[in-house]
């Protein structure tokens, strides 16, 4: 199932609705990298609240999404990693590296508001 991407202000919000196949994840990666340019977005939020498993492929793809979006000049924050999922990721030895994370959508938006304002040359 293709992940819907909403545009809100300068941000893209990808809200994952169900378990994703590998193809769905790769599609999300490509969609976000493309739409960040189309809408001239300054950041993307990927909401993974409903994901009940994040295995090596999912983690690798989320890292790729973050890196690609950074190369496109925008920021990424992953929100909603569930405590059980975090536990399994740590056990498995999976890390998101320098990818930004936040507790939930609200925290993710707050984080980006702070980040993108600080980064703007003519901010305020």
């Amino acid at each position: 199932m293709r992940v819907p991407i909403l545009k809100q202000r300068d941000y893209l919000i990808a809200s994952i609705q169900s378990a994703l196949s590998d193809e769905d994840l790769l599609q999300l990666r490509d969609d976000l990298a493309q739409q960040v340019g189309k809408f001239r977005s300054r950041a993307a939020i990927v909401d993974v609240t409903v994901l009940d498993v994040m295995d090596s492929f999912a983690v690798r793809t989320l890292r790729a999404i973050s890196h690609m979006i950074r190369l496109r000049g925008a920021k990424t924050v992953i929100v909603g990693i569930q405590p059980e999922v975090a536990f399994a990721m740590v056990q498995l030895g999976l890390t998101l590296g320098d990818v930004a994370t936040a507790l939930d959508l609200e925290e993710g938006l707050a984080y980006l508001d702070k980040k993108t304002k600080a980064a703007a040359p003519h901010g305020k």
Binding site: A19, L20, S21, D22, E23, D52, V53, M54, D55, S56, F57, R60, Q82, P83, E84, V85, F87, A88, M89, Q91, L92, G93, L94
Partner: protein, 143 residues
């Protein structure tokens, strides 16, 4: 209209999920989570089990292209739990010790597969013969 990936119940109460495409990985781990939930595993353990299944199924696809994930209730004395068997007729593993080292991989993976799965399970065993295939068995016991 059962697809290739649909679990097939067998006489011993096992579920066999054929792994032949990426979509089958999702089916296998969802089936594993359901089974774990039915056996009384906590949400945290259900997630651990589903994640282990996902990695094992991924290994099958990557190295052997096709294989099975077998899920069943485990019983030993007073202990109850769940057993996951990942079996394939792929190329096999020449050096199992090496395959279990963190950071070692001959495929495109990140080398976290088998050692990672071992950390997720209570018991872990690999039998493999080059040219014949591989059988990975993992058990998780109820606390």
């Amino acid at each position: 209209m059962a697809s290739e990936g649909e679990p097939r119940p067998t006489s011993r109460g096992e579920a066999v999920v054929r792994i032949a495409s990426a979509a089958d990985i999702v089916i296998a781990r969802q089936r594993g989570r359901e089974l774990a939930a039915g056996l009384g595993f906590s949400r945290s353990d259900q997630t651990v089990i589903a994640t282990a299944i996902s990695e094992l199924a991924r290994n099958i696809l990557e190295y052997a292209t096709v294989g099975d994930i077998v899920l069943a209730e485990a019983q030993r004395g007073a202990r109850a739990g769940l057993v996951i068997v990942a079996r394939d007729r792929g190329p096999g593993i020449a050096d199992i010790g090496q395959a279990l080292q963190d950071g070692y991989s001959t495929g495109r993976g990140l080398g976290i597969g088998l050692p990672g799965v071992r950390r997720l399970m209570d018991e872990f065993d690999i039998a493999s013969e080059v040219g014949k295939g591989t059988r990975v068995t993992g058990r998780k016991w109820l606390p």
